[in-house]
């Protein structure tokens, strides 16, 4: 516990920014829908970590409540996403988003 308290806020911000950037790059570069969902989870988790760190810094519990809601919403989002992915898999037998090319300019 003492060790966690000793970590300065800046390190948390740096770590979260890095995690968030990795998530964003993953969403942009990966071609598999499942991996993209994992990258979005990574983005949301970095936000969670950042919120908890700030919450600790301000000794204010509001942001920790926020984190719980983000977790719940992220679960709902991914479950709807996976259901849609199932529908696509039935049609195309693949989870690659390059197969989603029916609608374009």
């Amino acid at each position: 516990m003492e060790i966690i308290k000793g970590v300065p806020l800046t390190s948390y911000i740096l770590l979260c920014s890095m995690l968030f950037s990795i998530g964003v790059l993953g969403v942009l570069y990966r071609r598999n829908a499942l991996v993209i969902f994992m990258c979005i989870e990574l983005m949301l988790n970095s936000v969670n970590l950042l919120l908890v760190a700030f919450s600790r810094y301000y000794s204010d519990s509001n942001a920790q409540v926020f984190v719980f809601f983000i977790m719940a919403v992220a679960a709902a989002e991914v479950s709807v996403g996976l259901a849609i992915l199932m529908m696509i898999y039935r049609n195309t037998k693949t989870t690659d988003i390059d197969a989603l090319n029916k609608l374009k300019f």
Partner: protein
Amino acid sequence: MILNDFFIFMKQELMLLFIIFLLLLIKVGKDRSNESLLYLINLLLLINVIAGFILPGEGSLFSDMFRTNPLIALEKNMLNIGTLIISMQSYSWLKSHKHLLEFYILMISTLLGMFYMISSGNLLMFYLGLELSSIPLAALVNFDLEKKASSEAAMKFILSSAFSSGLLLFGVSLIYGTTGSLAYAEITSHLSTDPLQIFAFVLFLAGFAFKISAVPFHFWTADVYEGAPVAITSYLSVISKGAVLFVFVSVLYTVFKPLADVWYGMLFVLSISTIIIGNLFAIRQDNFKRFLAFSSIAQVGFILVGISGSSSMGTAAVIYFVLIYIFSNLGAFGVVSIVSSLTGKERISDYKSFYKTNPFLSWILTIALFSLAGVPPAAGFFGKFFLLIAGAEKGNYLLISIAALNMIVSFYYYLRIVKSVFMEPNESPIESLTIPLISKVALYICLLGIVILGLWSVVYDYIFTLSPIF
């Protein structure tokens, strides 16, 4: 908190919750025919619209998490009217659909989410409302279960909305980090033009721009609009976009007021690029839904021009324009929805000499397109006129002239459709369609809305008296 306040302030939300639970109970009970259910649901939605106008309260609940005032109640009423019209227009599509009740349960849940979002006084409430309004929409986009295009559109929608809410959340967490609070009132008092706060605001703005499909965050729009069922496309382009715009205006004008100079520059770029790209791409579309998608992107650009002026007229002009936009866009979508559900045709070239076989639908389509383009007797002209006046408040005439020039460009592609409907010959035109009475009533409501809002200035004056002064 007095219980009485609770029922008055949250009246509209409670009404929607009541409808959702009623539909769930009907779902559990014995099977009923789709037609009787549709009449029941439309009646419920009509009662919901009327109930919304009674006793608009003013105050806040749950330590400022939820707040309401007559303007917010009016915004919710506008969304209610739009939902009722969409529900009536999609009668012939839903009549034969297996999952009618699920459709309405999901749609009304998203409406509930938008209401919470509009009433939010706290970033947590805002986020929850936003997600409640976008997650069920993804399921709705996939509602043509047997079509691959529908699932593809749903996938694109859920991925881009999840990604954009991720960006928005990172912005929220940085705002919390720099101001130490999630409540709007306290955030405003702690904002300055600190670089980290500006960065947080940019992320926040990007999240918003995704939802209102402003360029350069518009890529999902056309694909999703094309793949989704027509009823959902019109819901996405009118109701969902309108709700986010209401929140956008109020958030920019109240919470981020200290950053006004910063967001003015960003809105300047966003609005110019949105209008130009929307217009250029609308010119070359042949699919009617895709065409309306790009036209709606261009319309959002005009709204951003109005917002950027940040005058006292800004809020009123945006709300007035969204009201007109609801009627005119739903008029156009109503015709497309009826034609698509009865014949399956969605291309603009199919509409050649549409007038010969379906004069009533042709006139509705024409008037709606005139209103969207901004031809004077129709309401759309006054909507755009007020937006441009609001935008001119800062004296940035470059922005206004670009917007005005683009209005002329937009005449080309709107009138191109009118021309092909009335003048171009076609060997196999769409046959004469029998429109269900309920959809016909919805089209008449749109027509009345377009004509009355343009001629009767009381509506704008009323909105203006309610709007806060910037």
